[in-house]
């Protein structure tokens, strides 16, 4: 893996990666999980899907990952189906395998030998700050460290698109802030596109340049916001008036989507 420091192009100049076009997902014939979803994902976007539970954000992610198929509409890839990395809410590591063997998994399933990709694995571990723990077993790591391994695994093959399903929801606030910051740095380094599911307004504003606000019953896209603050973002951004104002806007949009007044 070569670390490129290439910044994503400004919003509006990015080439299209994929498009979710008029997608419905209906379970059991009558439960509408997702209704008429339209979303264009561009290369280099950091998109947050923000919404209450039951708004279909996880369903959208599973559709993009190809784990299920839309009832109506289609998911169209601009340049053929891209490679995808996934991070779940749980670290989802194999307890019997060491950290490096866990990160090796995507390559192993492609039939690559460990020796062939050892450098990529160790670079990925270095990027998440866990190179010293390559030979450790998951049980020896803290919750935050396990999540870092999970992130290293998702990006080790340098996929075009990384899907994250509330990855930090189960972590404590301090660890979450640290991981948010590190994730942004990582995203800059590997120049990947990220779709990030969350129900935290603050997290979505801090991380993303596009926030897709979703509403529930039936799950649908309510509105989209643009966070026009430059990367890299750090603690200074988190305490800025701009951040507070953006959080207010996003929060209002979320409440409007949920049919309440702020």
């Amino acid at each position: 893996m070569v670390v490129t420091w290439r910044r994503p192009k400004p919003l509006g100049e990015r080439p299209k990666l994929m498009e979710i076009a008029g997608v419905d997902k209906v379970f059991g014939g009558d439960v509408v999980a997702l209704q008429e979803m339209n979303l264009v994902v561009n290369e280099g976007d950091f998109i947050s899907l923000l919404g209450p539970s039951g708004c279909g954000k996880s369903t959208a992610l599973r559709l993009i990952a190809g784990l299920m198929h839309p009832t109506r509409g289609q998911i169209a890839w601009a340049g053929g189906e891209a490679e995808i990395g996934v991070v779940f809410q749980e670290p989802t590591l194999m307890p019997w395998a060491t950290v490096e063997q866990n990160v090796y998994l995507p390559f192993r399933l492609k039939g690559r030998s460990f020796a062939e990709v050892a450098q990529d694995i160790h670079l990925a571990l270095k990027l998440v700050g866990l190179e010293a723990f390559a030979k450790s077993y998951p049980r020896e790591l803290s919750g935050g460290m396990k999540m870092r391994v999970s992130i290293a695994r998702a990006m080790v093959t340098r996929p075009k698109l990384i899907l994250m399903d509330e990855p930090f929801a189960a972590l404590d606030e301090i660890t979450r802030h640290k991981l948010n910051k590190d994730l942004l740095e990582l995203k800059e380094k590997i120049a990947s596109t990220v779709i990030f599911v969350t129900h935290s307004v603050f997290e979505s504003v801090f991380l993303s340049d596009r926030i897709v606000v979703m509403a529930a019953r039936p799950g649908r896209v309510a509105t989209e916001l643009t966070v026009d603050a430059p990367y890299p973002r750090g603690e200074a951004f988190r305490t800025s008036a701009e951040y507070a104002a953006l959080c207010r806007t996003a929060s209002d949009a979320l409440h409007a989507a949920m049919g309440e007044t702020a």
Partner: protein, 280 residues
């Protein structure tokens, strides 16, 4: 007083003392209990002047064990061979069937009922039939022991193969894993602790199966195991030898369990919950 010394509060000291005490008690208590039981047994036999053809004293049993070892030793070897062979076949058959079931739901639907029927039918009642149809006595014994031993391995391994983490399964799917890769890298490691649990049960059961089958088979001569020696000694009212043979069977069972527990520990101690010690 060093810093470390001063930091040891009353709780710490009490805990350390309790730990030391437990460490000694863990082997001393069972050893003491066994020694007392043997002493009690000896006293009952001596004080009541019970004849040795009814209840031999432990000393006589030990003496018989040494004296009759030329007869009991080869018998032990036969029983051991059948037990281990049955266990090996049970592992191959049990794991093989479990893998087949996990690869094909159809196969599971077809054959699982047979496995259950074989398991719930007492081996004592099938054994006479087996010895009618199977000429070779060793093969018959093996078949009986296998019938008893393979089910726990099959059912535990099946459970393990089906217990994979949902998200990991999704992950394998996203990365386009083949069925074989999923089995090899995900399902088999997940099933390992379950399999080992089944194996420890099967180890004891294959010994029971071997002994029970020998009782049913009953014929003597060359290639007779411990169970036959017990029957034979019973007919001759050679009770001390019955006790000696019984002690050998029990010892064999304990050794099998200990070895399989050690194997389990070696395979799991690095990662599995069951093998982890809590820090505090």
């Amino acid at each position: 007083m060093s810093l470390v010394e001063t930091l040891r509060d009353a709780d710490e000291i009490a805990r350390a003392r309790a730990r030391r005490r437990e460490k000694i008690a863990r082997w001393a208590l069972p050893a003491l209990t066994v020694a007392l039981m043997i002493l009690l047994w000896d006293r009952i036999a001596v004080w009541n002047a019970i004849p040795h053809y009814i209840l031999p004293a432990p000393g006589l049993v030990a003496e018989t064990l040494v004296k009759d070892f030329p007869i009991l030793g080869p018998a032990l070897l036969v029983t051991l061979q059948i037990t281990l062979a049955a266990l090996a076949v049970a592992v191959i058959g049990g794991v093989g069937l479990a893998v087949l079931f996990s690869l094909s739901r159809w196969a599971e639907m077809c054959f699982y009922p047979f496995a259950v029927v074989l398991q719930v039918t007492p081996v004592v009642s099938i054994a006479p039939l087996i010895f009618i149809y199977v000429d070779n006595r060793i093969v018959g014994l093996l078949l009986c022991a296998w019938l008893v031993a393979f089910f726990p391995i099959l059912s535990n391994t099946t459970l393990g193969l089906n217990s994979t983490d949902h998200n990991l399964r999704d992950l394998y799917k996203i990365y386009g894993a083949t069925r074989w890769q999923r089995l090899r890298y995900l399902q088999l490691p997940t099933a390992l602790p379950y399999f080992l649990g089944g194996l420890r049960i099967a180890g004891g059961l294959s010994l029971i199966g071997a002994v029970v089958a020998e009782y049913v088979a009953g014929t003597g001569g060359i290639g007779s195991g411990l169970a036959f020696r017990i029957l034979e000694a019973g007919y001759r009212l050679n009770i001390p030898r019955m006790f000696a043979a019984l002690a050998l069977i029990a010892l064999t069972g304990v050794v099998i369990f200990a070895v399989l527990s050690l194997v389990t520990h070696l395979l799991l101690h690095k990662w599995h919950e069951s093998a982890l010690k809590r820090e505090i």
